[in-house]
Amino acid sequence: MKILVLNSGSSSVKFQVIETDLERMNAHEDRTLATGQVEKIGLDDSRLVLNVPGRKPVADYREILEHRAAIEWALRVLSDPLNGILDGVDDIDAVGHRVVHGGEAFASSVIMTPDVVQQIEECSVLAPLHNPPNLRGYQAAYAALPDVPHIAVFDTAFHQTMSPHAFLYGIPFQLYTKHALRKYGFHGTSHRYVAFRGSQILDWDKGDKKLITVHLGNGCSLAAIDHGKSVDTSMGFTPLEGLLMGTRTGDMDPAIVPWLMAMEEMTLHQVNTMMNKHSGLYGVSGVSSDMRELVEARADGHQRADVAFRMFCYRVKKYIGAYAAAMGGVDAVFFTGGIGENSPEVREWALGGLEYMGIEVDTEINATLVGGEGEITTEDSRARVLVVPTNEEKTIARDVVRVLNGIMPTFEPPETVTP
């Protein structure tokens, strides 16, 4: 079946058409027919780019003021006899929507009924920048394609299997019950895909292993996955917690926030922006938020670039150690995301000295593996380390198939705590 996958942001809509079904999924033969995006929605020079494998990219410009027009435009281009890949919009069998936050309400991918949409709206308070545009994209797509099923796939759902001792913060319990203040974790579709695909490559079909998935991209997070279930992840209530990222602080002493607000007379907005957009690799190095530029600057002897690089790798290593301890061992570590897939330097530094844990990196193979699938540990290494390029859109398309075939797993917590 042909599935339209949508990732709607506040001023952009990314889309893919993926052909897949149960057979193709199991054989890892899903086909991406087209990828594209509409950018600068709301402005008079909005841009649409369409990439069809094997063809030259197509770009188009016009004034697009809202999501509905953007999605109609995308469908028109996809159905265009010259540049398109569909005979008509009727070719689309279902639509998969990326939804950032499902709160505690969603532990699985689901068909978007009015009730579901209402619940997603209620989760907006947890992700005010993301859920509302996700829903605008849904409403626009539903208007254009009212007769096919629409499925919501949440970034948070996969981590709903965490136990309370992993997801609670050490704050008064009533604040958790009142505001749903807890660790949710993000990048769920990526961690899930990479865990699945990595295991497939290793021929581990029983799903009884202890895995650590390391997603290092614009945002960075790890997940500890035991017997196929996420038992911990480094992002928290928001995507700010955990690893050092391009412009985000990651873990820090929360007392810094009120201290800075008092001493620098910073507003809430300023301190938020400081932590999310002025920090991380960029804030520490003063050079760039881009790991490639940092690696170059470091090679040129730039000290702050070097320390930012080492901080980044050090934290990845700390979390790998923590998660191995949490699971009582680790059978494999899978790296993914722009940095995870393309930076041998980061992988080498993050894994250096972990031989005692059974991780022995083959530095030569590691150095040459850039942007592809493969193993970077030696033959004797007890734990295996793989690089697995992520594909969140494919996971969304596969979830559409799973939901429609009634085989979508639910990621429920093993226990709950009542006040």
Partner: protein, 302 residues
């Protein structure tokens, strides 16, 4: 409703106009900002960039956000751009004649049911509105400086303002992330009317020798959890503007409680207008930072 808000005309590139333009552009809308000459445009643009750089230094904004904001602001010297705008707002000085002339220029060019907003804290919306062919589309909004961080705006209904126009002004306020306070026309509305007697009383307290200006200010700031005291607020607003509002409120209402403190008049006559001139009740450097704070007037962690 066929009306949608995408393009906003702002008339006047002063402190208030720039501040509103920044906020509007930040929310993803297009702005055309009109100044009187190319020299004024250059000066206004330079000031706006400087204030964005200042916010970047305070971590409130990033370089790419600054670029996006600037790309959404078009600077012009003619009124023609208003023809394509869904809403226009004037932000020129508090002068009846000047505002009247601008409203006429806008009224002549804009689609007939598109709102025209007067940004004023004291002038009569109704009196200004009746000078136009369509007074019903004229509505008041009183923004408080700095527009980027102050969460409130008073939306002022004139006698002839229609519900539709009024609702659009409220929607504009919401798009800017402001809480609209709905008020009827009356000199000073809510915020100015309530704050001016407080400021005036602080001045009288100093004049009567009850306490030094810095002590009066600090007492009120710490006592009521204000971000700054009333005298520093007056200094930063501009003592000439404060005096102008007081006089207007006093003459419109005839109430003695709005009579400006003689000390305020004296400072204005001496050209000591506050932060912008380096001295008012307190002293300021060229970056408008206060240089004479009391030792107790400093941030303290927790």
């Amino acid at each position: 409703m066929s009306w949608e808000l995408h393009n906003v005309a702002i008339i006047g590139g002063g402190m208030m106009g720039r501040s509103i333009a920044t906020k509007v552009a930040q929310e993803g809308l297009s702005v055309c900002l009109k100044e009187i000459s190319t020299e004024a445009v250059d000066a206004s643009r330079a000031e706006l960039e400087q204030s964005l750089d200042h916010e970047i230094a305070r971590f409130g904004l990033t370089n790419s956000e600054k670029k996006a904001i600037l790309s959404r602001i078009r600077w012009v010297t003619r009124f023609d751009c208003a023809a394509d705008c869904d809403l226009a707002i004037e932000t020129v000085q508090e002068d009846f004649g000047v505002k009247r002339r601008i409203l006429r220029e806008l009224d002549r060019r804009m689609v007939e049911d598109h709102p025209i907003v007067i940004n004023t804290s004291t002038l009569s919306i109704t009196e200004l509105a009746t000078q136009n062919s369509r007074p019903e589309r004229i509505v008041g909004m009183h923004f408080l400086y700095p527009v980027t961080t102050t969460r409130v705006v008073e939306v002022v209904r004139g006698q002839l303002t229609t519900d539709e126009v009024y609702d659009r002004a409220v929607e504009f306020a919401r798009i800017l992330g402001k809480v609209p306070i709905k008020v009827f026309e009356m000199p000073g509305f809510v915020t100015t009317r309530v704050v001016l007697p407080l400021v005036n009383e602080a001045m009288h307290t100093v004049m009567e020798g009850v306490a030094e200006a810095a002590e009066v200010d600090l007492a009120i700031k710490l006592g009521f959890n204000f971000t700054m005291g009333p005298l520093e607020w007056a200094d930063r607003t501009g003592l000439d503007r404060v005096l102008n509002w007081m006089q207007h409120l006093h003459s419109e209402s005839g109430e003695p409680r709005f009579r400006p403190c003689p000390m305020l008049k004296r400072l204005v006559r001496a050209g000591l207008l506050g932060a912008k001139t380096g001295q008012g009740f307190f002293l300021y450097d060229s970056n408008r930072r206060r240089t004479d704070r009391l030792p107790d007037d400093k941030p303290r962690p927790a």
